[in-house]
Amino acid sequence: MSRCAVLGTALVLLLAGCGGSADGDAAATPSDDPAGPSGTLTVFAAASLTDVFPDLGERLEADHPGLDVQFNFAGSSALATQITQGAPADVFASANGSQMAVVTDAGLAAGEPRVFAANVLQLAVPAGNPAGVTGLADLAREELAVALCAPQVPCGAAAEDVLAAAGVTAAPDTFEEDVRAALTKVELGEVDAALVYRTDVTAAGDAVEGIDVPEAEQAVNDYPVAVLADAPNPEAAAAFVELVRSEEGQQALEDAGFRVP
């Protein structure tokens, strides 16, 4: 239903022929400019943004006919590696500061990265919670099948912090390569619990239940976004970042379970 509303809004904006960007400090909203962004925009975004960014991309495309927005969703660290190896990306949205730092340290970001959202970890259990998980302490139970993200990826680093803050020594059965892989195993009912982002629990719908963990406040992940220095399409990149940080973009992020600054 929210998708309908989104499409409807986009259509109205398109028909009215005026950009609806609510960002007051922008000198000109993108579609006031007849030339406007066009061509292809390539956005490299953290896997956890999979359910929000395509909608925003469609809105931008609706505002700018002739613009084609492409997404590459993967673990932030994999994306950072791809960017430092010369992948032709316009925008990088990372799930934590340290992977953004990999890109900025290499001098590959244009300007300062801006934090546009934050995510906290939540315990995800299969629908019905068959193992009766109630909190972080259950992750130490040997008889449960438990998935954590690998410490090399942001959700794993956050999980380590949260577990340390709670004083829990988890007994995981697997260290997943990214947060969506951990979530998939919960959805399939193959693990009894996993520490994933709140947004992933929201995205999984009825197949997964989320359990809040107070200790998660110890490791809130900030999501920075930056236009890249070698962006093939800097104009469209700036428009996308602006949309993400606009009221409209922030609302979409909030609906998906993110916290917004």
Binding site: A145, V153, A181, L188, E190
Partner: protein, 268 residues
């Protein structure tokens, strides 16, 4: 290398140019790894306990997967090549599906059958208290699923190319089909089986997608070298290059050794 070396007038140009290009295409990425390898920190990277663990697990599970593929795959290849049953072409297409299936999808499919909630796995879990996912067994199963078709295709090809008159002769001399298979067919296609086994082993050794999906990633139990390489790449690309080189050197060395000890003898 060449055993047939009489009157060799050289390679015709239309073959030589693409062949050289092929070599460049296949070898340059490896050269890239060697050039970029942080030789200075090689020692410290290699002595980490995780490397030995992952390497041992890779070798053991790839070998087990090859063994399982031989036990199941050679008979399957025989059925595909020799039986007159209808629907063989459909069967062939079905069993080679893992060749085209993205391995991650293969991993999910394995969950649906052998996972805790899977068709067979649910029963295993409840009746026998056996859970397969996230164990070394799951690694072997995932690798076998992906690698066995390579063996089946190779052996089937060898069986088709083998001279069927030897089998006919054995049959006229009174051997039953099982005896004929053991005493005549198997020795006849041994080089094909060896080549298929090597291919299967190499594929199993490099397996990533099905393994990380179905078996997960846990050091010592399910973290094979390709998984270790992938995760190292997330944080420390230099370590990933070192790990890749280790896997490369070990696999090439093993294949060369096998070739000397076993393949050439079989070919003769």
């Amino acid at each position: 290398m060449g055993t047939v070396r009489r009157r060799e007038p050289g390679v015709p140009l239309p073959l030589l140019v693409p062949a050289v290009l092929a070599v460049a295409f296949l070898v340059l990425p490896l050269a890239g790894l060697v050039v970029r390898a942080p030789w200075g920190e090689l020692g410290s990277q290699l002595t980490g306990p995780a490397v030995g663990q992952a390497l041992r697990l890779s070798l053991v599970s790839a070998t087990a997967a090859t063994g399982l593929s031989l036990v199941l795959g050679v008979p399957l290849a025989w059925v595909l090549a020799r039986s007159r049953a209808r629907g063989r072409s459909v069967l062939r297409a079905l069993v080679t599906v893992p060749l085209v299936l993205p391995p991650v999808v293969g991993g999910v499919a394995l969950f649906l059958v052998l996972g805790r909630q899977g068709i067979v796995g649910r029963w295993l879990d409840q009746a026998l208290d056996v859970t397969i996912p996230f164990t070394t067994t799951a690694v072997v199963i995932a690798e076998t699923f992906v690698a066995m078709p390579f063996l089946v295709i190779s052996v089937e090809g060898a069986l088709r190319a083998a001279d069927a008159r030897f089998e006919d002769a054995a049959a006229t001399l009174g051997a039953d089909r099982w005896t004929t298979f053991r005493r005549v067919t198997l020795p006849l296609v041994a080089p094909g089986i060896a080549a298929g086994a090597v291919l299967c082993w190499a594929r199993a050794l490099g397996e990533f997608g099905a393994t990380i999906t179905f078996a997960g990633n846990f050091p010592g139990t399910t973290q094979t070298m390709p998984l270790a390489v992938y995760l190292a790449l997330q944080q420390d690309p230099d370590a990933a290059i070192v790990l890749s080189l280790v896997l490369l050197v070990v696999s090439v060395a093993t294949l060369l050794l096998l070739r000397d000890r076993w393949l050439t003898r079989a070919v003769r």
